[in-house]
Symmetry: C2
């Protein structure tokens, strides 16, 4: 991997890298914040999966997360939201399909399948890469994300619970198979067989018996402009209750879907992850 940017922040370093991704079959860009503690010894990492239209830049500029990561001694790993480049299929007229909208799935249908393998990318290829090349403790990971990235976060944790010590999400798409954002993408990426869609739906995964060892921490603003149509936290909540999956779902009065909402609570999320990552197993 090639380092393409290095910015000092809160005594640590906000770095950006580019590498040839096997999973995505293209050049991928990501950012990592290394806290001051990483100068002394390897640190645990929190992965942040971003929402629709984002790159790795949105969270690092808007969330205010680096301050807390510096204080808590956590690395932040911030991937892009899809494969990129002229050779990568896109749907330029849509913000919710194609580049910027990978939905953290492994696509199985053309033209997407040759590049859109974001599930493998964020759960396997990227952790292996950063743990081999940066002062990050191998295997000591937590995951969080926003909206489409909150969906990816919950799916990653439910399908690969052994990879993460803790999981949290901001305004996640909790039941994508039942809403327009998910239907539009899953049909394109995965085809018409809805059984394949259920493998990328947190609510369906819980219903089918998948578990995460601790309670996912979810914050959801009550003034979120996408809450009623796209997010459906009540479906996940009901599935968790039915199935005995612990869940911390906090409805935050008056907050919207923006990074101002994320900024307000990212400190509590990172503290939650730091506690899990430093707890003795």
């Amino acid at each position: 991997m090639e380092q393409i940017e290095r910015i000092k922040e809160f005594g640590g370093w906000l770095n950006r890298y580019r590498h040839a991704s096997d999973a995505c079959n293209c050049l991928m860009t990501f950012s990592v914040y290394l806290p001051p503690a990483a100068d002394q010894c390897p640190v645990p990492a929190v992965y942040y999966l971003s929402g629709l239209t984002c790159t790795d830049d949105n969270v690092r500029v808007k969330a205010g997360a680096q301050r807390y990561a510096a204080e808590l001694g956590l690395a932040l790993v911030m991937p892009d939201t899809s494969p990129r480049g002229e050779a990568v299929p896109d749907a330029p007229e849509r913000y919710d399909l194609g580049q910027g909208a990978g939905f953290y799935v492994n696509a199985t249908r053309g033209p997407w399948a040759a590049h859109y393998r974001m599930f493998d990318y964020v759960t396997e290829e990227l952790p292996e890469l950063v743990e081999a090349n940066l002062p990050i403790v191998p295997g000591l990971r937590s995951v969080t994300g926003h909206s489409m990235g909150g969906h990816g976060t919950l799916v990653a944790a439910l399908r690969r619970p052994e990879l993460y010590r803790s999981v949290s999400a901001f305004a996640p798409i909790c039941n994508p198979v039942a809403v327009a954002w998910g239907e539009g993408c899953f049909g394109a990426y995965l085809g018409h067989d809805r059984a394949a869609w259920a493998e990328y739906d947190a609510t369906e995964l819980v219903r089918a018996g998948r578990r995460f060892s601790g309670p996912p921490l979810i914050d959801q603003g009550t003034a979120d402009e996408f809450l009623a149509e796209q997010l459906h936290p009540e479906a996940l909540e009901a599935a968790c209750l039915d199935q005995g999956q612990p869940l911390i779902l906090r409805r935050q009065p008056g907050y919207d879907h923006s990074y101002h909402f994320i900024a307000s609570f990212i400190g509590e999320h990172l503290a939650h992850h730091a506690e899990a990552l430093t707890r003795r197993p």
Copy 2:
């Protein structure tokens, strides 16, 4: 003034307003963050003057200031950087003149003089407006800013020291009459008489005997890409030393000119202002 946006953040409210400005002779947009404490009683305000190309949005999205303002019980008042609109003169081929580049001066030359009165706007019209309409204590103000806004901040404090309890700046243009950014704008806005320019130059104001009652707090990154050509903190430092003006100038190793630098130190700046604003006179 008309409220055009309202976003909950850190338990308070990030609001945006539009109003017909007398000073700028156009519609102006600005943002105010009101901390949770403002629900109970009026709070002091810190004004943040932004840099070249910015609107009120950059700082509210990128600086991470609202967290500290919420904790400290401070309002943040975030004006735009110039008059705006189709009727307002511009230099679209330049990022450092015209809209987005008001330089916080009262222009005296055509075509700029009819609108570009940002000094009066930020020091008089805007404070009167927000103090009359929002839960902000009249007259209890501090001021900070970045780059061109750091210049505006120092000039406001040195020319109108009675208006502010404390002043700070991030990577300010300390001696604009001596650098390309200042020369290009001051010639256009103020004409060829360099005596008029000196009224908008912090170093020249100190040399001419202007004083601020406390030490301005300035942070300057040593890896700032504009440091050598445009900022000249050493000129201000020398003038302050010559004239007995206290100054806290901190050279921060490795930091650049970006909002990642501002984010790293805005908490210390707001704590500095909170101390001054809550001190008994």
